[in-house]
Symmetry: C2
Subunit: 332 residues, 2 copies
């Protein structure tokens, strides 16, 4: 593939800076390449000088809460404000099939012809099972390509939902009536990551209960400093023709962004995010080394010897780690 | 703490082998110790010679599917067969608070006075966000302590659900009417990990739809070899006094276990599981090194320099990795 040449990544980045959408899409594909992790590295390097200017909004919540519809309404609202919006729909896709569902690729068709909206479905899984480092890199590509807002939507209730908070400037957690979500969310650590709570499908019975459960969970939750952001609960009903609450939500997102900048939290959150990215890259690299260079075989051999009670898992890990660090094969 | 002395771990293991429940509980606490990861290592080493004999059953599914109630009914059924049962309830607990909910600790009270049942709530989170290596180690402790069956129950729909399949000999995935679970499960890779599908709350409206969706998902899913285990769908209603389908479920679990042994899949799955454990231990160790020894500060420093556009994340990762491998501090 001709695009593998470093020079071409440079051309793609220059084109993306000028707003060429196909170039941005291509760069994201390169960032996602599993065959050659060196490509993501080169994309990252090529973008390192570009200004950080986009506002990254994470949208998460349990399945069925209506996140996709809400994202669509949010895009409409942000577009009405004249903002360019990139959307990354992150699938917790199967680690076995790697498949992303067609539905994710074809949704938000209303925006398909709008040049100011970029929609992309991405696989979430990194080698470590958490959020792939390709996701923050894709957000960075969209930032460089001139998108004012990058919306990252994650599906499901799991680790990737919590990790989204380390990527987003503003994390919106979406609830809907009828799932007992608030309690489950508290269990899964979702409450702590939210900057803004949304009670979606607010026109449905039970919405009041959800809002009350959330207020209660906030009251009994961990005490936050008086200077901390006071996390609002906003009601939306994105499912109908004239979506309710979206304007309020957009206003709250803006207010949160302003608060983040004024309080210094924006800078410190970005620094933490970058530290997280560095840590993930290091660990993914180690995981890759463990999987490559016959060490998969080597892990199997070590496992057989553990099964034969020759030594235990930790001793086996020492042998594997020694092999990684010396760059050779494990001494067996 | 006196128990930190290696000699005491040996005594605890000897007591656990004789079925002293408190000793097993203590060993699990040591395996979970975050302050001193060396304790888990010593527990693992002390157990390495013991025979592998327990059947590990993973129970997973989306929130609200009734997994806990089903687990309780399963324990009753297994006890009726004269089997000793250990239960590990794995919380996807908050990475921020680390809190496990009281509800998990007090549930299954019916079994609280039964000496043949051990119930323990564990935090799921490892340093990498996935299933903690303490979970398979705790299962091993229970095995050594003479439990015939170890039930591992995970809450939520996320990465830890998929990882449970690498720990369990038999993975049971629980569905219930009214959540559109089958489609979400297919998205999240849950379908692939199941050995047995349960449609729980089978007396509720919509149960037929769930069973039909599952059959359909199995039909359209990835083709499996003709020699593969034919994954059954069983209906249960665990919520009432005389639970339905539990006997069928227990029979299917037994049949799956026999099939696993006869087909050689049991041995190869255990070997893969051990290889996974070794990999996790290596990566957790790397993550710990990154977090310790001033390298947290170092990651923050590296992050600041990335934010200042001096270099990008991948170059920063090289510096951090070089520091880890040389065992020194990163060259800045």
């Amino acid at each position: 593939m001709v695009v593998n040449r470093p020079a071409d990544i440079g051309s793609l980045v220059r084109a993306a800076r000028q707003g060429v959408i196909k170039a941005a899409a291509r760069l994201i594909s390169l960032a996602e390449s599993e065959d050659d992790p060196g490509l993501a590295r080169r994309v990252s390097e090529a973008l390192s000088q570009d200004e950080r200017r986009a506002h990254v909004i994470g949208i998460t919540g349990s399945p069925g809460a209506g996140k996709s519809t809400l994202s669509g309404a949010l895009v409409t609202g942000l577009r009405a404000d004249g903002l360019r919006v990139g959307v990354l729909a992150v699938d917790p896709s199967s680690p076995f099939t790697g498949g992303a569902f067609l539905g994710d690729r074809v949704r938000m068709q209303a925006h398909a012809t709008d040049n100011g909206v970029f929609i992309r479905s991405m696989a979430s899984r990194g080698r470590l099972g958490g959020l792939s480092p390709a996701v923050p890199l894709a957000a960075r590509v969209l930032e460089v390509a001139g998108y004012d807002v990058v919306l990252i939507e994650t599906v499901g209730v799991g680790q990737s939902e919590v990790e989204i908070a380390s990527i987003a400037d503003t994390t919106v957690v979406v609830f809907a009536p009828g799932h007992g979500d608030a309690v489950q969310a508290a269990k899964a650590g979702i409450m702590e990551i939210a900057d803004i709570f949304v009670v979606n499908k607010a026109d449905m019975p039970g919405a009041d209960d959800v809002a009350r459960d959330l207020r209660h969970a906030l009251l009994v939750g961990a005490t936050r400093p008086a200077t901390a952001w006071r996390r609002p609960i906003v009601r939306t009903s994105a499912g109908c023709d004239s979506p309710g609450g979206i304007t309020d939500l957009i206003a709250l997102v803006s207010r949160h962004r302003a608060w983040m900048a004024a309080s210094g939290e924006a800078a410190s959150r970005r620094r933490r995010r970058t530290a997280d990215e560095i840590r993930t890259i290091v660990l993914e690299d180690m995981a890759r080394r463990l999987a490559e260079r016959r060490s998969a075989l080597c892990l199997e051999e070590l496992a057989s010897r553990v099964e034969a009670a020759e030594f235990d898992q930790y001793t086996a890990a020492d042998i594997a780690l020694g092999s990684l660090i010396r760059g050779g094969r494990a001494d067996l």
